[in-house]
Amino acid sequence: MSAGLLERPAAPAQTLALRSLAALEARRYARSPLFLIGVSLLVWTTTVATGDLAKNAATADPGDLDLLPAFCLGLLGVFVGHQLTRSLDGADEALGATPSDRVRRTAALCLACLVPGVVALVWVGWMSAALAMWRIPLSASISSGARAAMLLSGAVCAVGGPLFGVLVARWTRFPGSALVAVVVLAGWTLLSTVSLAQPPSRSGTFLHLSAPFTAWVSMDSPRSAAWVAGGSPGWYLAYLVLLCGLAASAALFPGSTGPRRTRVLRVLGSLAVVAVVCLVLAVLPDPARIPL
């Protein structure tokens, strides 16, 4: 019945405690059925699409694929992040009596959102290798740095989606809030594409780039010529990274108290200002679209 009593652990460093918890949450994330569905979807669509690229290297439009991790891992990730956060609600009272407070638990969940990011980075590596292997140039007027930023944007969205899910789970209590969050995200993205039907302008570029799940390259269409949207992919990437930081900080806000709350507020304010600056910098370059 009884076994020898182990020494209760001494108070570990905050980072060590957070790391252990984050590792556990990362394992939960990696085992989430929705995440596994997203990864399967990403692998399948990438395999099919890169097969087409290999066959039609001269006419293919690889920019279409940039958003795959954003949709397969990011959009589904909203549900995963939300579900992981809310799954322990029933045990919240017992968990609340442990030394790991809500802020630490949320921070661990935010770190676990790097799991889809790692998968997306592997995808970026694979895509880069595939594009180089089949010698598929996007456009001579797009630098390799800008091309890399476009590819990486999708990977950042793969992290941002789950972070948004954690944020929504921490701020809302009503059933179906994850679905509402996805609808809002998808609606924002669709709204941003409205500007692409108009002649290029800075305000149009601003609207286009303000959305986190935005494609740089027009979709393949027999009715219109393909093009790359105006603006700076590099600054847009920085803007997306800052949105991720904003989502994580805002998720940490509920449950934080005293000086910690003040710190979170300061970080939130600073990130918001820098994000706006990055968005403006992303919009500043020539809004003209680059034909492919």
Binding site: L6, R8, P9, L21, E93, A97
Partner: protein, 291 residues
Amino acid sequence: MNTTASVELTGITKRYRGTTALEGVDLSLRPGITGLLGPNGAGKTTLLRILATVLAPDAGVVRLLGRVPTSAEALAEIRRRLGYLPQEMGFPRGFTGFAFVEYVAVLKEWTARDSRHEEVRRVLDLVDLGDVATRRVRALSGGQRRRVGLAQALLGAPDLLLLDEPTTGVDPEQRVSLRQVLSTAGERSTIVLSTHQTEDVAALCDRVVVLDRGRILFDGSVRDLVGTARGRVWLADAPDPQARASWRTGTGRHRNVGALAPRGSEPTEPTLEDAYLLLLGGRGQTTGVAA
């Protein structure tokens, strides 16, 4: 045995939207097992939540394990030495018993994997769940789930163990087994056991606190509380109209509990339940032997 107070409450008051859950509660607890009895809505769960640091009182001073839980550091220090089983506990989908208790162990800062696993196995064995540890919690019976909840509270042999209805849904054999676990733990820890099962309190606790409408109605030893019912419980062939409560026992005779056994009746040894019924029946008059 350590005799310094683990829990010191002074003038604790808590209200929910105009309803008073606790009113000026003073309590000092030392290592040992204290039973917390009271009718529904008496304030037991609110008191346990305050002791578990998951709820702050509106007024009064709380001192737990030598610290006042106001700063984040003090809260973390207290929680490192605290085990808490809430009244209601949901389990996340897909978790096995082992995985859930391990999750709590990580939250309790067992960062080293090997010792954490060893500790999780220890507490699961303590509550006799070692053989079903790899089953999903949602597939377990209500009593087994309750024991998973108890296992997480026992992690790290906490100095202050707060248990809200730990034996709900647990079969008699397991209840006896849990009593053994708790009585051993009570030798070094301060345990507060909130329950409606007076037999658990009688079997385990050296002290009992009865709460009613947010106030302490009785605070003293189980023997003292039982003593208040002496001469007020009697057996008869029919229900006694003078009795406060009367029921037919398995022997066919009626057990009557009332203000005073009538002359010529057959008095019998009172139980804690009898004393509790009488105490609540005479609410308003503080019987506090040791209060």
